[in-house]
């Protein structure tokens, strides 16, 4: 008993020391630390890896080699600590007086400048981090796409509290629509022949392709929404599941887009900046929406539809708009997905994809933008880590999900507002 208490107080004290150490570091401080770490990796990464007995720089913080070659784990841990953890903490802390000052100065201008500044640095960090290997670039792009998917599904399953299973279907619609758009108009292709417009225009028209993909997905969502939002209950789950399978088998039987063989040779337009910008745009718009009273109406409908109705909320319109909106973003993410891999086939958008994105939503946390980002990023990394297990990784991920459901039924970071101003706000040392 006494020992237990003693142990507890040591933990508490360590926690307090760590909090005191880290609390004065603003986001800008962490970013500066990250910038430093990235340059460190570029300069001494290779030689350090050799020194620690690693064949090459551990691409994903050592997660990928953890299961492939367990003997290298200590080296990977040492590498990650020396290159990332320790420098980021030390630089973050040391620079905190300066970064706090800069953050404070920036906040005096409209919030927009602060946000652009932070996002710009974040992009720089990601860009130079992923520069090291093409595998990092691909993983990063797919993770960003997963963030978009998760966030848009969270609008339906979290904020609106309905259970939708059709997200892979929307993603497929978006992927194929955007691909067809760019193939027909801007690419010479064996299915669609000569491009209708000059391919030079292509990269500039890529946003149009994505928006077209999103629109098609939203149109698909309308097919589900009209019958299933008349009443509440399990209808949506069932109808949307059916929709997902219908879309999949429809594409499989559509020879124009390659049928079960899939559709390939999409132009290489989805580079890292494009994917990043779309992800930021998606987070920004969805966060704007769910924090407005119009968006909060979703929570009102979820928690008590009758009360929402009596308080002048047009519940049916609210649900329709949110559903179509979420489907739009799923479609956009599908379009990006197709252009990142430059190949899509219908079997990608099946039950496994659904399980993946549902796991990300419920693991990260319902009704929370933070949660979606955390869920998508952590499960994407976990997925890469467990890749050597092949199909058996689908034992581990559901197991993890079950544990989360038992101990935190709404997910890791549920019901937390994503307040941009407080994120970029300078941290004050509490002297008082």
């Amino acid at each position: 008993m006494a020992e237990n208490n003693g142990g507890g107080s040591v933990w508490v004290r360590t926690g307090q020391i760590l909090t005191a150490f880290f609390s004065p570091i603003p986001l800008l401080g962490w970013l500066s630390g990250a910038v430093f770490a990235i340059f460190l990796e570029h300069i001494i990464g290779n030689s350090l890896a050799v020194l620690l007995g690693l064949p090459k720089i551990p691409v994903l913080f050592g997660f990928v080699i953890a299961l492939k070659e367990p003997t290298l784990i200590p080296g990977a841990i040492a590498y990650v600590s020396l290159i990332f953890v320790i420098p980021i903490c030390i630089i973050g802390r040391l620079s905190s007086p300066v970064t706090n000052l800069v953050a404070e100065k920036l906040l005096k201008l409209p919030l927009f400048f602060s946000v652009v500044f932070h996002v710009g640095i974040l992009y720089g960090v990601l860009h130079f981090w992923s520069d090291i290997s093409p595998y990092r670039v691909l993983t990063l792009k797919l993770t960003l796409i997963a963030v978009m998917m998760t966030l848009s599904l969270n609008v339906i399953n979290g904020y609106m509290g309905e259970f939708s299973c059709s997200h892979p279907g929307f993603m497929a619609l978006g992927a194929y629509a955007a691909s067809v758009f760019s193939l027909v108009f801007f690419t010479k292709d064996r299915i669609f022949g000569e491009p209708l417009l000059s391919p030079v225009l292509g990269p500039f028209m890529f946003p149009l392709a994505l928006i077209f993909g999103g629109m098609v997905a939203a149109l698909g969502a309308m097919v589900i929404a009209i019958p299933s939002f008349r009443t509440r209950g399990d209808y949506l789950a069932i109808i949307s599941l059916a929709f997902m399978f219908i879309v999949k088998s429809m594409i499989e039987n559509l020879e124009v887009v390659g049928g079960p063989r899939g559709l390939s040779s999409q132009p290489n337009w989805a580079n890292l900046p494009t994917v990043f910008i779309w992800t930021v745009l998606c987070i920004w718009i969805i966060n704007n929406f769910v924090r407005s009273t119009l968006g909060k109406a979703l929570n009102a409908v979820r928690d008590d539809e009758m009360a929402a109705d009596a308080m002048t909320v047009n519940t049916r319109r609210t649900k329709m708009v949110a559903f179509l909106f979420a489907a739009f973003w799923a479609g956009v993410s599908g379009g990006l997905f197709a252009h990142v891999l430059r190949y899509v086939n219908p079997s990608t958008f099946g039950l496994q994809k659904l399980a993946e994105v549902l796991a990300m939503v419920y693991f990260g946390g319902l009704n929370s933008v933070y949660g979606s980002i955390v869920g998508a990023v952590s499960l994407s990394i976990l997925g890469e880590m467990l890749r050597p297990l092949e199909i058996y990784k689908w034992i581990f991920i559901p197991l993890l999900l079950i544990l989360v459901m038992i101990y935190r039924p709404t997910g890791l970071i549920a019901f937390k507002e994503f307040d941009v101003r407080s994120i970029v706000h300078p941290r004050k040392r509490d002297k008082e």
Binding site: K296, A297, D303, D309, N314, N367
Partner: protein
């Protein structure tokens, strides 16, 4: 022209006639009461008037316009606010968000504003918020603004419901047993609040209540509903003396 007029409204649940031949006239600024034993159909009357159910027969005129068949949110935005007997609060939302939400139809910005966070939206939301704060202050729950409603004591939750209904800027307010489950002290405060609301906003109020003391003190005209039929209508003294009311509502047993 009366604010709210109901003509020969009837409603069937399957074969059961829950409300039959119900008539009502409420003038602007009037406080009316509806009493009756449990299961008399009082809440059904509320649900019919607010559009939750559609009456089988009859007309409901709000400021001369027939509102039968309109959706509840449409009727609500025409100026008919209500509270619920069984507190229907949104359990994950804060007090402030509740009050802001009730101003949904008066937001003044559209989806583009919501998606892009335009300056217009921020202006309207700030405006909305200051009105919400004023209401919270009036009802004495300003210090609870950022609390999630499920953490609040019962009396405060009732006040949140009242603030939420008032935020709609209704012309007529339907209160469904606003003092259900309250202790005598909370009851007195709630009566004070209802009087204050009436004086400040000049609202018409339609009140369902079980506590006769409250109805007798507040209401100008009282209806007694038994098995879906109005058996008596009049001012408090008339109702108290009416033998039918005493018989049906207060009970026939003589006290030895």
């Amino acid at each position: 022209m009366p604010l709210l007029e109901v003509k020969n409204m009837s409603h069937d649940f399957g074969g059961l006639r829950a409300v039959s031949d119900y008539n009502l006239v409420i003038e602007p600024g009037q406080v009316r009461g509806l009493i009756g034993p449990n299961g008399a159909g009082k809440t059904t009357v509320f649900n019919l008037l607010t559009g939750v159910y559609r009456p089988t027969e009859g007309e409901i005129l709000l400021e001369g316009k027939n509102i039968v068949g309109l959706q509840p949110y449409q009727i609500a935005s025409m100026g008919l606010g209500r509270t619920f007997q069984e507190l229907r609060l949104w359990r994950h939302m804060t007090v402030l968000e509740h009050v802001k939400m009730a101003r949904y139809s008066k937001l003044g910005y559209g989806l583009i504003g919501a998606f892009l966070g335009t300056p217009k939206r921020h202006r309207k939301e700030a405006d909305n918020e200051s009105k919400a704060y004023a209401l919270l202050e009036m009802l004495g729950i300003l210090q609870l603004a950022d609390q999630v409603v499920t953490n609040l004591p019962y009396g405060a939750q009732r006040r949140v419901e009242m603030a939420r209904a008032l935020a709609m800027e209704p012309k007529i307010l339907f209160l469904d047993e606003p003092t259900a489950g309250m202790n005598p002290e909370e009851l007195i405060q709630m009566m004070k609040i209802i009087r204050e609301i009436k004086d400040r906003f000049g609202l018409a109020i339609f009140l369902i209540e079980h506590r006769l003391r409250m109805v007798m003190e507040l209401c100008e005209v009282i209806q007694t509903l038994v098995f879906g039929k109005v058996i008596a209508e009049g001012n408090p003294e008339q109702i108290q003396k009416n033998p039918k009311v005493i018989d049906a509502y207060l009970g026939t047993e003589t006290v030895e």
